[in-house]
Symmetry: C2
Subunit: 165 residues, 2 copies
């Protein structure tokens, strides 16, 4: 699946990078400390050519950095850049959603906890500059400085659809 979304919206653009879900799983493995091709391959069960292709894209996009770690000759390892490491937030968000709505309470394979207290963390939230969590209902999406006509129309249309209801 290699559809490309030519929309300025960052969601569409981010999804272009991911291309498909293998990419998310590759990034997940990197958070588990995996850095070698063979480890990615074994842990995800992905075909070599697909993995090779996805890793190249991730290096091009600045999400992974490729290092030659061969003592004699060439041998690469792959490490998340700061841009890549910042994907932990979307991944945590997907994990919490899956835990709540797919696995269900008591069946979660992976939990998030607070390191110091060991307490389980189940909520993720937007946070104001002063560090206050903001409830989803208090969040408003608006057109930004990079919006084109298509995005402006979408917001206009959303306003009209709300009025009708």
């Amino acid at each position: 699946m290699t559809q490309t979304h030519n929309q300025p919206c960052a969601i569409a653009q981010a999804l272009n990078i991911f291309g498909d879900n293998w990419t998310w799983l590759i990034i997940r493995e990197a958070f588990y400390g995996v850095s070698r091709f063979s480890e990615f391959q074994r842990n995800i069960g992905i075909a070599k050519n697909l993995l090779s292709n996805r890793l190249s894209t991730l290096v091009e996009q600045g999400i992974f950095e490729k290092k030659n770690v061969g003592e004699n000759g060439t041998r690469y390892s792959y490490h998340l850049t700061p841009k890549g490491a910042a994907l932990r937030t979307p991944l945590f968000a997907i994990l919490l959603w899956g835990n709540e709505y797919i696995s269900g309470d008591g069946n979660e394979a992976v939990l998030l906890t607070e390191r110091n207290t060991g307490r389980q963390l189940t909520t993720m939230s937007l946070v104001s500059e002063s560090g206050e969590p903001i409830e989803p209902n208090d969040v408003r999406a608006i057109a930004g400085p990079g919006a084109n006509q298509e995005i402006l129309d979408k917001f206009e249309n959303a306003r009209n659809l709300k009025k009708q209801k």
Copy 2:
């Protein structure tokens, strides 16, 4: 792209539902208030058969609810269930990441703001039960009650990889 990940991890299971990125874009449109087949199709630029297929899956998975709104005969509209509406958190996380690392400051097509103050929101965070934001470095992923041997091995392996570094 229809690979299936047979892993108990909620990330893999959640990604199985999404199947591909069209699905995320369909959900994004629903947050803009879109509910009709023709509107989804026009706004995303997706082929009819793909849209039909993705919407059916989303209804099966309990993310959308399908309502007959035809006054004479059958005409459907699609609405997010609570399970579907909860996907706003992963979507917001993807949007913020894309704004920071793809669009860049001053080029964002869509911004998130606090409804009352109009201030821009750029941070998302795990939140403790007492409502305190938790820094990513203070978050620890652990094996949960639904972990199988594969997941336990992954955490064991992650510990060993960290020791080596």
